[in-house]
Amino acid sequence: MGIIATSRLKSPWIMHFDNSSCNGCDIEVLACLTPLYDIERFGIVNMGNPKHTDVLVVTGPVNRRTARVLKNLYDQIADPKMVIAVGTCSISGGVFHNCYNVLGGVDKVIPVDVYIPGCAARPEAIIDGVVMALQKLAKLQGVAL
């Protein structure tokens, strides 16, 4: 393992995927990248390509059209990978639980490692969640964070 495992922890690349969220959590994820919260200090870089990604950040409930897209993206990400579900509606469907086109939380389609509650989840909580995912990744790889 050695240097690759350590580098993965010191600079994880994330990809953000929006299912059918209300945007509330999306703008909070984006806000994490801007000066006040500045998630880049953990070496985190936002990527648009699933093959470059270590951590998949998902917002919003899975609906009937995005379910396939999400599964597809997840399969393209190389192992080891982490999935973070941001916001109440990506955990369980939240306020959208009785909408006819919504299937429910992200874990209906792909396995989730960290759940971040909140509607919308606060940037502080999101950063905390990402760090938690990194801890989990460290344990998985058997290296110290």
């Binding site: 929006d18 209300c22 945007n23 509330g24 909408c99």
Partner: protein
């Protein structure tokens, strides 16, 4: 004739935080035809609104869109109130106005940042978002949350702005106004920005009306139309004049939004000063009667239209929400053909698309 290729733009694209797909037909680098494919964000909120009780719908309507959420909640409350019809206390009207304008400020700053990002001006993107955080802090202080406030309830509002908060708000807003002005000066006068936006995605006065556009997009084509002219909430008492530009291109749209950001701050300052004392919510008894009502409110992205029909029970019979992007998407069919592939992101962004609104 050069061979034609069809290129999909989206549903995952860096300039769009949200999923929408445009199928572009290209002749070399020139776009000759465009076909939007939407539906990635369809949840079925209108139906769920018929299944929930009246107060619960506030939360659902707010989550039609998380960026203009506060105004969605306010509009829903307004339309339900006009089913009776009932009056709300004047202070509540002022508070709703202030919260609306605050969310307009944050939404426009967000858009200006995304615009800067779309042509690769990343430091300006960061600057706009840094300023925006100050407005979000104010929203958190007064309305209780950064993005989804749920501050409006049927009959009034949930939270008041006391004297200390008011003083703090005025200070911060004045500060924000100065910063926005300074930064926007750069944006409107910069050579590169002009080169990338002037004459891109032109929509004439007549086209804008024929295509039913709304909001800053419409006003950038010279049409003086703004729902706030109706004088709902407290806008009748405030000195409000729509911001209009005449170019009809992406540059004018940016100029209108900059003007509106400054104006929104001024309106907040004025409303904070004029706000009358008194109750913040009226008592509501029972269910609304069987009746129909419509409400048109100006959101950051344009006019939102609510149609509600009650039937005397605890559920709505029908709620129809027409959001601004829903009206603005057809204009892409006219603006995109003829432009170059590299300009597509900026033109699409210039209507300030909000997809989760459109598809509900």
């Amino acid at each position: 004739m050069a061979p034609r290729t069809i290129t999909p733009f989206g549903p995952q694209h860096p300039v769009l935080p949200e999923p929408i797909q445009l199928k572009l037909t290209l002749e070399d680098e020139k776009v000759v035809d465009v076909m939007p494919a939407i539906g990635y964000g369809h949840r079925g909120i209108e139906k769920a609104c018929e299944l929930n009780e009246y107060p619960k719908n506030i939360y659902l309507c707010e989550r039609i869109c998380g960026i203009c959420s506060c105004i969605h909640g306010i509009t829903y409350c307004e339309v339900v109130e006009s089913l009776w019809p009932m009056d709300i206390p004047p202070r509540a009207k002022y508070l709703r106005t202030i919260f609306s304008e605050m969310s307009r400020t944050h939404s426009h700053l967000l858009w200006l940042g995304l615009l800067a990002d779309a042509f690769g001006f990343e430091s300006m993107f960061m600057q706009y978002w840094r300023i925006r955080e100050k407005v979000l802090d104010l929203l958190e202080l007064t309305a209780g949350h950064r993005v989804t406030q749920s501050v409006s309830i049927i009959g009034g509002v949930r939270r008041d702005i006391d004297a200390d908060m008011k003083k703090h708000c005025i200070e911060v807003l004045k500060d924000v106004r100065k910063e926005v002005e300074a930064l926007s000066n750069v944006l409107v006068n910069d050579y590169t920005v002009k080169a990338r936006t002037i004459g891109k995605g032109v929509l004439s006065y007549d086209q804008a009306i024929a295509l039913g556009c709304c909001g800053p997009h419409l006003r950038a084509s010279g049409v003086k139309e703004d729902c706030r002219m109706q004088g709902y909430l407290a806008y009748g008492d405030l000195s409000f004049e729509p911001v209009v530009a005449s170019g009809g291109d992406s540059y004018s749209r940016a100029a209108v939004r900059i003007g509106e950001t400054i104006q929104a701050i001024d309106l907040q300052l004025e409303a904070l000063g004029k706000m009358p004392e008194g109750e913040i919510a009226a008592k509501v008894k029972g269910n609304p009667p069987a009746n129909e009502a419509t409400m048109r409110v100006e959101q950051p992205r344009g006019e939102v239209f609510y149609y509600a029909k009650g039937n005397g029970t605890r559920n709505l019979e029908r709620l129809r929400v027409r959001t601004p992007t829903y009206a603005n998407i057809p204009s892409l069919l006219v603006m995109l053909p003829g432009c170059e592939m590299a300009d597509v992101p900026i033109i699409v962004l210039s209507i300030d698309p909000c997809i989760s609104c459109t598809e509900r």
